[in-house]
Amino acid sequence: MTAMTMAKALNTGLRRAMEQDSKVILFGEDIGRLGGVFRITDGLQKDFGEHRVMDAPLAESGIVGAAVGLAMRGYRPVVEIQFDGFVYPAFDQIVSQVAKMHRRTEGTVRMPIVIRIPYGGGIGAVEHHSESPEAYFAHTAGLRVLTPGDPQAAFVTIQQAIACDDPVVYFEPKRRYWDKGDVDEGLDARDRQRVPDPWQARVVKAGDDVTVACYGPMVRTCLEAARASSDASLEVIDLQSLSPLDIETLVASVERTGRLVVVHEASANVGIGAEIAARVTERCFYSLEAPVLRVTGFDIPYPASRLEEHFLPDLDRVLDAVDRAMAY
């Protein structure tokens, strides 16, 4: 076990994937000499060369569209979108081509593309640098959506995403990049015996009274809430895979607790929390003691940074929802 930041865990995971498969190439804006604005690709161009770590032109549709072509030629492109708010120019290529190509070609053309996106707020950034657009991609059939909750998960799931033959939109909780955690570098991500299934949610803290479902940046927040909660015992579940959703793990928990709070930074309206509420309620109709409650960003554009602390769910807002769930 090595203590490392999530940024370093991702960097190490990318390195591992590149070592193991020469078809893995990185492509994105400023990822070469600069190592990306968050340094996630730091040192990789130096070690693997300009052919494996390619600085891209400033054009996101172009980056993803070219990745489609590269994938058709047999490569496994790992694309970096510089910030959440800059993925939208690539939306057409992602929705119409990346997501559909395998189905359209009846399985003959695979799209083993990973689209890495630092996402979420809490770092005091300017506009378009704090968004949580995961719902758009989770709604899009043909894509898989992953987001790691801690450095260990980051180290493993980035490799699993790259090894996956389906396109994966990989959301990196940027405000947790600098959080440290223990990482088992010895773990071989290909070892299906020892490594957890990336598409399965993880119970990161067991509890009895209320299930709290969260992912990415909110995992730490919810764990803190669980620690701070005196009245109720919280079971915290890190969804990790936002598409497909692992409903079974949630159902198993809610059947015990009878209460579910879903937490995410993204706006509530037509978001991941809505889907979870709908599905879990359908499955656990008779075991729910309270409706599924959502703690989310408000249904407004991400605010200027001096207001973000009011926008983002925090420990207190999670506990407030827990109280409300308990009060039913």
Binding site: G62, G65, R73, Q93, A141, R144
Partner: protein, 362 residues
Amino acid sequence: MSDGIRAGAAIQLLSPEGERVSNTHYDISLGDAELRDLYRDMVLVRRIDTEATALQRQGELGLWASSLGQEAAQVGSARCLRPGDFAFPTYREHGVTWSRGIKPLEFLAMFRGVTNGGWDPIERGCAIYTIVIGNQALHGAGYAMGIQLDDSDDAVIAYFGDGATDEGDVNEAFVFGSVFNAPVVFFCQNNQWAISQPRERRSRAPIHERAAGFGFPGVLVDGNDILAVMAVTREALDRARTGGGPTLVEAYTYRMAAHTTSDDPTRYRRAEELEIWRLRDPIERLKVFLARQGIADRHYFDQIEQEADELAVHVRDGVRSMPEPEATSMFDHVYAESHTLLEEQRRHLHEYEASFVPGGSA
């Protein structure tokens, strides 16, 4: 904007009257058999097109995008490809798919609505038809980058229309092609129309001149002259293979039919325009040339007509008897590895539909 052909600016090796024209820079010399073969390909592609249009009228196809009049541009350019090369067509490139060895029933399947693809792109060196305007230009640039990474001398040809040059994706493809000096030929069929929009509504410079501003050559070719198309495409592909980077070819041609079978061009263009372009018909032009040069005779032309008739029957019968896809097949290949929620939906649909069949499982 001036008419590129009348202005004499376009590369031409065969006049509309079927006479061989010389060009200082471009030339091509083909054997008689190959020349006949080009003629054959164009005739057969046109016959498929005619048949498909009829099949659509009869309700056998959901839609058809006609390639009528663009056979020389399509067959001529695709002929220059080697097996390892890769073509990225739009929805109209039936002469390209045909030339890549894709069977008519394979490329008609999408228009019948039984699939969104129809063939294995990797095996055939030809992507499935792309409908979203411009998307495939970027795929072409990316594929060409992959060729470079492989240190191969394969090349890519990416097709799009005059209208597509408006789209961001096509311009970004120019950027990527240029920055990476990728082995890709951007092949624009300027067929004068983007649905109802005439070429005058495009940006005010001739299309091939767009290339210079991105740092690579652009060439204007008479798109109804199959020899010129081949000469120009071949040179562009050679440049690509030998590290010379991208080329933009503007093939000046004409969409002789409606945009698709859903379209009604009488609302926006005059019939006279069509008359002018009939005189520039790419097939007639080669036919006159072949006949004049004694490369092919009446007997040969009759034989090709007969082959076309047989092909038409094959297409007609084949389309009509195309197997209907299974309902639950729509869940196949959504993912390389499916997942529980999707398999539940598949099972649910299966059981639900079976419940309507007498004796089916509930």
